[in-house]
Amino acid sequence: MQLTFRVDGRQLTFYLSGELDEHAASSVRRLADDTIDEHSYADFVLFDLSNVGFMDSTGIGFLIGRYKKCKRYSIPAYIKNPNPSADKILSISGVYTLIPKI
């Protein structure tokens, strides 16, 4: 699992790639949170999942955790480009009601 980010003006985009499971999530949680802290002025945060090949419920926990972090700064978060299998698990678990897909 790799996590990179890009800042365009007041938009913070996270690019996740690889397999988002328990093993992977623990290694990128900190980086994601520090990045949100450093960009707490952002107008919104995007999670680009186009390169996530696999995701299980740990991934859901990871995304909801970052959503809560953003919420503390009142920054809305969105999900972009999930593949069909990520889309399935995100829909089932109701993540889109908190972090809409755009």
Partner: protein, 143 residues
Amino acid sequence: MQNYMKLELAALSENESFARSAVAAFALPLSPSFSDLSDIKTAVSEAVTNCIVHAYKGGEGRIVIECRIEKAPRGGILHIVITDYGCGIEDVEEAMTPFFTTLENDERSGMGFTVMQTFSTFFKVESELGKGTRVIMQKAVGM
């Protein structure tokens, strides 16, 4: 002869990826669709992760994965049994409720069992406190 396999793994999170890939690879002779494969991988990943984080709470332990193929005229049924010898579950019905988790502070969403249930054709959990837990799943593939 019916095809089967048995895999025993240390309860380490670095084995999660191997475990789900191994089961998916075992199912390949049934000509699964891409979506079947991804359902199988996700369900196995959920069960194996639960053994690591709940049954053994990050400590030492072993996980046994048994698979069997039941052939049908077209495709077949993949039987998966995942066993741990950890702490067991006090109330299985409660544990299977969507959003129920005993590890709220660890960013658990409590959706693992719901995902396993949704992604498999048949699903059952057997557990005994102090003895361990067994997750039994079947997935109809290529039928």
